[in-house]
Amino acid sequence: MLKFESVSRVYDDGTKAIDNVSLHIRSGEICVLLGPSGAGKSTLMNMANGVVEPSSGVVKLGDLILNKKNRTTIQRRIGMIHQQLHLVPRLSVLHNVLAGLLPDVELWRSIIKSFSVEEQRRACELLDEVGMEEKHLFRRASDLSGGQQQRVAIARAFISNPEVVLADEPVASLDPAMSRSVLDSLKTAAKHHGATVICTLHQLDYALEFADRIIALRKGEIFFDGHPDDLDSETQNKLYQLEQSQNTTIEQVAA
């Protein structure tokens, strides 16, 4: 489905974010990218949907190679859920979800925000699926809680019937209970629509529950790739250590 073929990315200041990574993500898989901050998770994500171009190597969706020409075609087939929510704060929940359809909407309809009944029904269905209620429909996105906003973002990512959904730290700003239920919503929606999900997380616990496949990154290289059950205790410990080291650095900074 989604293929990375010996992809590297070097930023202008010389840091190697991704170093010669080859990955093949199969259709319908729920992949979790694990790793501490700066391991290159977000860069890998942004390369998959064409926001960041690889310095070398090729990204393919199906048979299409991601390049300038195909970029919009590929972006239409990919749904994206972002780290800092990235809903439009002053737009209603309904229109935030419908905004996911924008690439396929005629210009004049987009100007007056005219969406067909079917499109709106589909948005409602998705919102219902991720656990939103009718009373939220015309609220501004900024009036919702963080968890609700993330649910709306999930609905938006799925509305264009994407083959792949990329979720960049979907639960980074949520508390544990909320995180679990948001991840559950994401998983149900993905299974229901038969979409492939690539999700970055940095909590190993969630990854073990949620993923079909775990890909752990460290310093731009793949460090583990496989089913959660295949994680032996040694690797798990190493992952825990990575997670711990990250937490301690954050605490040090805070202190």
Partner: protein, 333 residues
């Protein structure tokens, strides 16, 4: 925690901050001298003297030119001119049996001065008196002024909306277009309404067209810059999110930028509208329509009681405007 940086001085000897230094005193002194010259240039000293004289004159000490001027205006300004009095010989379609509502006829004298023979002739004549005639005339003129402000604002938005997109760094098609449009907007801003109106009066003749266009040209420079700055400062996250789903730049602008900038834009437009009406009241002075034309005409023939009515009209309009726009602002945000 101590870092291993070699200190050249112990901390007791570090240079500290001084609030007053000889340097700051010298700068203050130089500024004082410079401002004194400038104030003398603008006759501020004279203003102080004359104002003091006026105050003394009120209490009864000495004469004051300032007070005389003020008295000359106020003594003639009140009572204000409310009614309108016209000699019936000057009315084209006068019909004795169908007088306008509330009006009546009155006998009076008409004085005429013949400059050649230097003789005053006094003729008895009948006058048509409309009790609220002049007030009505001022109201109509004032309404025209408000309409000028309104259409000036509408045309201003029509000019500045597309230009602002071209003049925002993140949506301009090319850097060259960006600089060009920014320059163009500053040019609009740099042309004061009165001067634009003067030129437009030459082109379109006397009347509100020149006024409306002058307002639109000047304020589109202001509004365009404000709009563009708002677009540039919109949060990039939502824009990136929509862009990465493959939406075109225009749609991103519509869905991720416009909802964000819309409240600020409304506030700017409101400000421009208020300002346009205030400016429209004086544009008539150069013949560009509105109440200013009436004001200028009355002022030039020393009809200060008429002027007083006009000033009252302007004052009431501005106050009402402020009141309603305040209400609207609360409603919109």
């Amino acid at each position: 925690m101590k870092l291993d940086i070699e200190q050249t001085k112990p901390w007791q000897q570090w240079e500290l901050h001084h609030a007053v230094t000889p340097k700051s005193l010298i700068i203050l002194f130089i500024l004082f001298i410079a401002f004194s010259f400038s104030a003398h240039n603008t006759e501020l000293d004279k203003a102080a003297v004359e104002t003091s004289k006026a105050v003394l004159s009120i209490v009864g000490i000495g004469d004051s030119q300032v007070l005389d001027g003020a008295l000359r205006f106020t003594s003639k300004a009140f009572p204000m001119q409310i009614s309108e009095r016209t000699a019936i010989s000057r009315l084209d379609d006068f019909d004795r049996n169908a007088l306008p509502l509330f009006s009546y006829l009155e006998m009076g004298e008409e004085r005429e001065y013949d400059a050649l023979t230097e003789i005053w002739t006094i003729e008895k004549s009948e006058y048509l008196v409309e009790p609220l005639g002049y007030l009505w005339k001022v109201t109509v003129k004032m309404w025209e002024t408000i309409e000028m402000g309104f259409w000036g604002t509408v045309i201003c938005i029509m000019i500045s909306l597309p230009l602002s997109v071209l003049a925002s760094r993140n949506y301009t098609p090319h850097r060259f277009v960006y600089s060009f449009v920014r320059g163009w907007l500053s040019l609009h801003r740099a042309m004061p309404e009165l001067i634009v109106a003067l030129i437009l009066v030459l082109m379109y003749g006397f009347g509100p067209i020149a006024g409306v266009l002058a307002l639109a040209i000047h304020t589109s420079g202001v509004l365009g810059k404000f709009f563009a700055d708002e677009i540039e400062n919109a949060p990039p996250g939502p824009q990136l999110a929509l862009k990465s789903s493959g939406a075109s730049a225009f749609k991103v602008l519509r869905y991720a930028v416009f909802p964000h900038v819309y409240p600020a834009w409304i506030a700017y437009v409101q400000y421009i509208f208020e300002r346009n009406i205030r400016t429209a009241t004086i544009l008539g002075i150069v013949g560009a329509g509105g109440i200013g034309m009436e004001l200028k005409g009355r002022w030039d023939v020393f009809d200060y009681s008429h002027v007083a009515t006009i000033l009252l009209g302007i004052f009431i309009t501005v106050v009402l405007l402020e009141y309603f726009s305040q209400k609207l602002r609360k409603h919109a945000l």
